[in-house]
Symmetry: C2
């Protein structure tokens, strides 16, 4: 594990009851140089995962209170409920005594890509909020991975084009064509489709998805603006199969200085593995 | 205010430092009779709103740990950051000493429907996580209210058709035709479009939107299943104009015993006022 950047850089060490020490590295910086929010959220979720009795985060929410900085961090966790099939926990990552991100997550047992999955447990009637998922119940896929040429036929914005965005060295992107903002001609359409994967060959898992859904350049760059996340919610729907992930990012509503950004991730087996949505403040470039 | 059910039933009274007493009523029960999650989320947000210095919730997240029950409740709140333009807080609603819902929210100053809005403050360069929204920045509306006939030409499922769902007496719905599940012929398409408003004539505000986005029958009824919310995130994008709200609900992915449900709310001026998404467990009917 430790050979890969993501594993090394999200490492957490127990330092007290429910408390962990971690080091925010400078290797996941966004276009402003500030450590990526999804990266910090993954760190919180990794710490929480050590405390609950279910292996898989299924929904994670993070509120971003302040920019993080490379350096030491403390993560305080609390398990707020352990149910029969679902556990709930909260984590606060702080630096220099100030909260940077406050996260909450639910954990369960998630199916693999392509499988019928299921959250385990028997189904003996309606049980609210802690009932077993109906693993043998209805299945619906109203959507498909973006129709992209193979990654080898796609282009990637050169690392270094993003200013101080060190995350561009950690995550590879391949798209049909170069984005408008990169060519100096924002398209006015804040949506995009692309392949992505960790640059060092690490396969993506559920924790990895948390950073990937937040690691692209903000869609509103195509409107000539930048953005800062206020809140990010990620649904994790299946363990991803190895290989490139096909993803789409889109912003449909920009108003009053705010915008949402939606993100879908499909794995190499064609399974939807994550959906995320964030609310962000529109900022000048 | 107190004349309307929603205001009376979300009333909170300070009972200590950051603590409030409330009464969960039986008037907002869902199809299983359990108090609606959005109703409890509105209660938490109302309490939090009394503690922060910004008037408007802009994003609210709730994790549902246990079903609530009609009766007394305690809401513990904490303000976790007051920034220049954004405040962050958390609230926990508990009953009989057990946490029912754990909520978090960001507050700011939101524009009205149709206006350019803005979160106030001057824009003097990129400020992360607590920067002013670019009220004069880009605006984008990539979507439109559902194309519904006037409410007077639509039909409403009769109150009482939802078993113990008392919420059906609080919220009025009007759709083009009766839903398949109501006619005993689930359509297999878990999406729908309809008008909604409070039945007692109360205009909807930001707090009201929190219950409305969660008050419809679950979309998966059209797949012959029911559901229980694990987590709900609501983006509040503008103060709604008075009158009927045009809404659409949709579930695109059901797998492994889970599904998401998305919800959009448009006001009578044609402005998107809320977007929500929940992750829920699929349950037997």
């Amino acid at each position: 594990m430790g050979d890969f950047a993501f594993d090394a850089d999200t490492r957490v060490s127990p330092s007290g009851v429910g408390e962990f020490l971690a080091t925010v590295t400078g290797r996941w910086g966004g276009i402003t140089g500030v450590p990526n929010g999804g990266y910090l959220l993954a760190m919180c979720t990794r710490a929480l995962g050590l405390r609950v009795s279910f292996p898989d985060p299924i929904v994670v929410s993070g509120f971003f209170l302040r920019p993080g900085t490379p350096g030491p961090a403390t993560i305080r966790t609390s398990v707020v409920r352990e149910g029969r099939t679902t556990a709930f926990g909260e984590a606060v990552l702080s630096q220099d005594g100030k909260d940077v991100i406050r996260a909450a997550a639910a954990f369960a047992r998630l199916g693999g890509s392509g499988g019928s999955g299921g959250s385990g447990g028997s189904s003996d009637g309606p049980v609210l909020a802690d009932g077993p998922g109906l693993a043998d119940g209805p299945v619906l896929t109203d959507g498909a991975p973006p129709d992209l040429p193979p990654p080898s036929d796609c282009v990637g914005v050169p690392v270094g084009s993003f200013g101080p965005a060190t995350i561009a060295e950690r995550v590879e992107f391949r798209s049909r064509e170069f984005p408008g903002w990169f060519l100096g001609r924002p398209t006015g359409r804040p949506s995009s489709e692309f392949w992505m994967r960790f640059a060092d060959g690490r396969d993506t898992d559920l924790l990895g998805l948390l950073v990937l859904v937040d690691s692209t350049a903000p869609s509103v760059l195509e409107l000539g603006a930048s953005s800062a996340t206020i809140q990010l919610t990620v649904h994790l729907r299946a363990h991803p199969a190895p290989g490139w992930l096909a993803t789409c990012a889109s912003t449909r509503f920009v108003s009053g200085g705010y915008h949402e950004e939606d993100f879908e991730v499909w794995d190499s087996a064609g399974t939807l593995v994550a959906q995320s949505r964030q609310l962000a403040i529109v900022q000048p470039l």
